[in-house]
């Protein structure tokens, strides 16, 4: 088995790739806002936030082999940082956010105080998840904890964070979370123009994150990261420190989830523990698995397709949509283990008009992450 997968950029020339990127960007930034109603545009904005998380998870899991089932934690941290800022802006100076009033809190908790500053809150939304991920990663990757153990540990942390949020109603809003977010940096979120601006902000952030991730995986560092994923021991013998390599990817991945959380709050208006715990964390991994891990486009597609399907299925069949969604997962995993991106690839090879020689399996990280023989 050829272990060290070198990033293969498919058969597209750089110019073609740029063209496709611009075309998709144009659809998201120009066509979608013009065609969709405010409600549907907000939903698309939510999906794009999820796509940012998916890119991050793909970086950690698809390219770094670190299966994390705890990204709800990082997403939630970003979301709560932003939520605290917006709730404070809304309450006005010296006043308490609404939920503290009905929770019987009389003084603004010390934790909340710095979040009145937009600069602090926005940097915290990205840096806090990164710092937590880096600390967690440094602790466990150095012990050479891999595979299921990382998954379990990250999942436990997400669960613990959700329980903490629920238990501290006076500080966090408890099970409700932070609701009724109506302004963003002083702009009224009920105004369709401002709603569109928030959407555009998200679309632009997704584009930047995609390019950033693309740069990372194509860089020298990206190759080392994939090498660590495939054969960590060999990389260590080559003189690299796999711990550092993995911690960096894990922290970037967490930072992306934090950014997605921060963008999610103004577009959806709520951040609650229900978006933080184990179930949403697993869903996030499903997006990437369904989209095709190890391909950035696949991760984005997975997040968009799964969430679009969730919305439309639950609207069309409110009583039975969960079964259909489950069926969708099973079908995709059973027949197309490489996800949507895998299907697209095969279709392109079949009908693309241009014959591509059958690619060795090793280009697919799905195989590469298996225990090496």
């Amino acid at each position: 088995m050829t272990a060290l997968a070198v990033p293969k950029l498919g058969t597209l020339t750089p110019w073609k790739r740029r063209g496709i990127f611009l075309a998709i960007g144009l659809v998201l930034v120009v066509v979608a806002p013009a065609m969709l109603s405010g409600f549907r545009l907000a939903l698309l904005g939510k999906y794009l936030c999820f796509a940012i998380i998916a890119i991050g998870i793909d970086l950690a899991w698809g390219y770094g082999g670190m299966l994390t089932i705890g990204h709800g934690l990082f997403f939630g941290m970003g979301g709560y940082c932003m939520g605290m800022l917006l709730k404070l802006q809304e309450a006005g100076p010296g006043k308490l956010p609404d939920f503290m009033v009905w929770s019987g809190v009389e003084k603004l908790p010390a934790l909340w105080k710095p979040f009145g500053s937009p600069v602090f809150a926005l940097s915290a939304a990205i840096l806090v998840p990164m710092a937590v991920a880096a600390a967690l990663g440094a602790l466990i990757f150095r012990r050479r904890v891999r595979g299921a153990y990382l998954a379990i540990l990250s999942q436990a942390l997400a669960a613990a964070f959700a329980i903490l949020l629920i238990g501290q109603q006076g500080v966090t809003g408890g099970t409700n979370g932070l609701t009724n977010v109506t302004t963003f940096m002083g702009y009224d979120l009920n105004d369709p123009v401002n709603q569109r601006s928030v959407y555009l902000l998200i679309a632009v952030c997704l584009g930047i994150m995609y390019l950033l991730a693309r740069q990372i995986v194509e860089s020298r560092y990206g190759r080392v990261l994939m090498a660590v994923r495939d054969r960590e021991d060999r990389v260590r013998f080559l003189g690299y420190n796999p711990t550092t390599v993995k911690v960096i990817a894990f922290a970037i991945s967490a930072g992306m989830a934090g950014l997605a959380g921060a963008l999610f709050v103004p577009v959806v208006g709520i951040i609650s523990p229900a978006l933080v715990g184990i179930v949403p964390s697993i869903e996030m991994v499903i997006w990437v698995a369904l989209g095709g891990r190890g391909t950035l486009v696949g991760a984005v597609l997975g997040a968009l397709v799964v969430n679009y399907a969730k919305t439309t299925l639950s609207e069309a069949y409110p009583a039975g949509w969960l079964y259909l969604q489950g069926l969708l997962f099973v079908v995709v995993m059973a027949f197309a283990p490489k996800g949507v991106a895998g299907i697209a690839k095969v279709l392109k090879e079949r009908f693309g008009g241009r014959k591509v020689p059958p690619q060795p399996v090793s280009h697919q990280p799905a195989e590469a992450a298996e225990p090496a023989t």
Binding site: S37, G38, F39, A42, L43, F99, V101, W102, S103, G104, I163, I166, G167, Q169, G174, T175, N176, G177, T179, N180, V181, T182, N190, V268, G269, I270, S272, A274, L275, Y308, A309, T311, T312, L313, S314, E315, A316, P318, A319, W321, L322, L324, L327, L328, V331, V332, A334, F335, A336, G342, I343, V346, L347, R350, P358
Partner: protein, 413 residues
Amino acid sequence: MKEASKLKKLWLATLMVLAMLGAACGQKAGDTSATGGTSTDDGDTIKVGLLHSLSGTMAISEVTVRDAEKLAIEQINAKGGVLGKQIEAIEEDGASDWPTFAEKAQKLISVDKVATVFGGWTSASRKAMLPVFERNKALLWYPVQYEGLEQSPYIFYTGATTNQQIVPGLDYLKGQGKKRIFLVGSDYVFPRTANKEIKAYAQANDMEIVGEEYIPLGNQEVATLVNKVAAARPDAIFNTLNGDTNTAFFKEWKTKGIAPDAMPIVSVSVAEEEVRAIGPEFLAGHLVAWNYYQTTDTPENAEFVKAFKAKYGEDKVTSDPMEAGYVAVHLWAAAVEKAGTTEVEAVKRAAAGIEFAAPEGRVTVDGPTQHIYKTARIGLIGPDGLIRQVSGSDGPIKPDPFLRGYDWAKGLT
């Protein structure tokens, strides 16, 4: 050969996925055509939204309310509908997830253009939907008792507020000479706010709160809690636990062997449906506070219970939130008839003062608070799983969501 069969498989998968998405889109295309109309009065039907959890931890409770609302819609349609048009119910699944409630509420309002929405159960879901309805100036009818201290101009509350349920419950305990109270509740906004109010009441009425404990929603590990309660030896326990934690709590409590009349548990979120789920043998002898029981003796209730069982099965029970959902639909229909339109502001104005002979007795919409006058009833759970009234208010109580009529509640708002 192998490549070819793989390709075939992939094709099959793609087709299946596309077919499913297509099915979903087909439905959606129907929705979009509806957005062409600007008012719900245009068609032959008036659309209303039913937004409850049909999946997840709250589904078991919320489905029963949805069933009662559908019964009311069916009854109104059988009598010719409202404004001469049939009511068409559009259902959405809140999935026991608060942000989903907000999303689906927005969908019902902006895509389906419903005239009103009946929905929610937990206060968390209501708090999530509230900004959506206020932003869109649309109407929500919320059918479950709650913690008060809220009055949205775009929500009608047909369940009890605090002074129609919890305060009468405390008055009853006080009348029975119970002085030492232990508070147990689920960890979310309703129990915490309710307990804040209960503590204020206790302070003013010479009662002592000997303990206050919370358990996260859905948690079943109650042994520690039960031991703490038993060790504190209270005169009574005030229970605001919600969902399946109640099952674990009552089963564990039974092992302590304390007779219900010596140390009664007063529950405010345990109704007939929950009694049936937990098992009457664990609950018999304990108390509940509500506004309606299946046994409530009014001609309207006899009819309601009969109609409900005829539609959904003889083994079904009716409960307070179901009745409140049923009443909400009828009140809305009456307000629309009175206003002559489904336009929200007109319906709100028309709703003030509307009376309805409900299964619980006469109810009246209080215009300024958008809550309704309700009769408070303390009930005793029987070994047969039914609840019988042991004490009640003299008549419907005026809703007072901010407890302005109570001196002890001054510091709460």
